[in-house]
């Protein structure tokens, strides 16, 4: 901030960057279409990589101009003309395939908040572990490119454990025309109130972009906070209802017709205490002197706990927090079944954390593999991937129409366009 105040020109640039970060928009976005050519700072880690940052009409998810006969206007890597039929490839391969994007309005779990355990484990610390710290900081300690909704890459960094699976990857695999069409509008601390503002950074044009499947997934912050009187700061069902109705009304003004909104309920965070409390935290492994119960109490004492309600030794409080979370999930479920909107349909599904844990344990895994080791709170990489698989299966079984049909031209697209320009 001192540097910003030194020169008049710098001050304006600093203010512009600060404004973009506060609005969760890409910092480098010359044509202001909401998509960027760099990865961090809300760039392509969060939203499909722009293939021309000088023209706003060219971006992921755009309906192709003249079927991309001459250039790739929607960044899906498909363009040009088939010499045999004389028709554009985009028309041949994507014309009848009903392309759809994937979006997320979410919280730190949706953004995949993750602090590598190697950063706080002295026995395994090393030079390689911190090599990407600037990139990670530029992404707000979130890893959206490996998240369960918009993840698209498997990183081989020594601080990454697990694999990537996501709704976007699966929808892309189903129809390669959807390549790069993802937007992760998840924000650390996101709840039903501030999501009304966060939703404004979703980039979708009702007439010139394709429809999208938008996930509304706020799994805890409406009941989680670090206040000593935590219950007083939990969202009530009445306020939740009002907040969500505002968001739904706004989305009807930005989502293209034919879109779908998948609302997920809140998590039941009692698993945190149940599986973590007696285990050693990485900071306490060497001497066996800090458990997660100690960490939770410490964060609560400093009033910086992400969730006093569930990260607590008080069973009554943990149960109350789960009851409130269930009541808020019920609000979402009721809204999904009663509200209708012009441009999208709403579907509700529970955030089935218990089911995912049970399936993982049945495969021989441990419940704590699914919880971030450093904060003892967020879903881990493995959890993100398993939740993505569960969500996909649930959608296939219950709302298959949302996912569209498999594109019969996928193999031809692969042969002609390879990795479609990558991500």
């Amino acid at each position: 901030s001192d540097i910003c105040n030194m020169l008049p020109g710098l001050k304006q640039i600093c203010e512009m960057i600060e404004g973009k970060l506060n609005n969760h928009e890409p910092v480098l976005d010359i044509d202001k279409d909401g998509f960027s050519i760099i990865d961090s700072l809300r760039g392509s880690s969060w939203r499909g990589k722009d293939c021309d940052d000088s023209r706003a009409a060219v971006h992921p998810g755009a309906r192709p101009v003249d079927w991309d006969r001459y250039e790739d206007s929607n960044c899906n890597g498909i363009y040009g003309v088939d010499p045999v039929s004389g028709k554009p490839y985009e028309q041949l391969f994507c014309g009848d395939s009903k392309p759809m994007g994937v979006g997320l309005l979410g919280d730190s779990a949706g953004a995949h908040f993750h602090i590598p355990a190697e950063w706080v484990t002295p026995t395994v610390m090393g030079l390689d572990m911190f090599a990407n710290i600037t990139f990670v900081a530029g992404n707000e300690l979130d890893w959206p490119s490996m998240s369960g909704t918009t993840g698209y890459q498997n990183l081989t960094w020594p601080t990454v454990h697990g694999w990537t699976d996501s709704a976007y990857l699966r929808l892309r695999q189903r129809n390669l025309c959807n390549h790069r069409d993802y937007q992760n509008i998840a924000v650390n601390g996101g709840d039903s109130g501030n999501t009304n503002d966060n939703a404004k950074s979703l980039s979708r044009n009702q007439t010139s972009d394709y429809p999208m499947i938008l996930f509304y997934s706020l799994i805890g912050n409406d009941v989680c906070n670090g206040h000593p009187d935590t219950i007083e700061h939990m969202t009530t069902p009445e306020v939740m209802k009002a907040n969500v109705i505002d968001t739904l009304a706004y989305l009807d003004t930005v989502l293209p017709a034919g879109s779908a909104l998948i609302m997920t309920g809140l998590a039941d965070g009692r698993v945190l205490w149940k599986y973590m409390n007696s285990r050693y935290h990485p900071l306490g492994e060497l001497r066996g002197d800090v458990t997660y119960a100690d960490l939770y109490a410490y964060l609560m004492c400093l009033q910086v706990s992400p969730c006093n309600g569930w990260m607590s030794s008080n069973e009554t409080l943990r149960n109350f927090t789960s009851e409130r979370a269930a009541a808020l999930s019920k609000v979402l479920q009721d809204l999904a079944s009663t509200r209708t909107y012009k441009n999208y349909k709403i579907h509700y599904m529970d955030f089935a954390l218990h089911t995912v844990i049970d399936e993982w344990v049945a495969q021989g895994g441990k419940p704590w593999d699914l919880i971030e080791p450093v904060d003892g709170f967020h879903p881990s990489q493995i959890s993100q991937a398993l939740t993505a698989a569960y969500t996909w299966t649930h959608l296939m079984q219950n709302f298959p129409e949302v996912l569209g049909k498999e594109n019969p031209h996928n193999e031809q697209i692969r042969q002609l366009f390879g990795d479609q320009g990558g991500h």
């Binding site: 572990m129 911190f130 001497r287 410490y298 400093l302 910086v304």
Partner: protein, 121 residues
């Protein structure tokens, strides 16, 4: 409250220094250099500046068996804001946390100029 995230960050860093010295059987001073050496260049410089100022206090207190919680109180990153009790991540030092904090603060008074520089920066 009580230093919040600054306190937590300090406690983690001091704890890592303490544990690195144990893992590699080296002095606290060497462990601090090691920790800074792990960081990319742009952070390495800031880290070295930090240990230049805070290092002597950290070395003195850890060598005398104080806990990271007490050290961070002495470094003023952690505070005790009434009516809140002091916060601790690690087990009680000898004589209890409050005694450990008092002892550490007294000992850190030898380094008044370092503490002043920490506050300023």
């Amino acid at each position: 409250v009580n230093g919040g995230t600054d306190c937590a960050a300090c406690t983690i860093i001091v704890s890592l220094i303490d544990q690195l010295s144990l893992v590699y059987s080296e002095s606290i001073d060497q462990a601090m250099q090691r920790l800074c050496g792990y960081l990319p260049d742009q952070y390495n410089t800031v880290c070295k500046e930090f240990i230049y100022v805070a290092g002597p206090i950290i070395v003195d207190l850890l060598a005398n068996g104080e806990s990271p919680d007490a050290v961070c109180h002495a470094l003023t990153f952690c505070t005790t804001d009434p009516p809140n009790p002091p916060c601790k991540l690690y087990p009680q030092p000898r004589g209890g946390l409050e005694a450990g904090i008092k002892r550490s603060k007294l000992r850190a008074m030898k380094y008044t100029s370092n503490l002043r520089e920490l506050l300023v920066n």
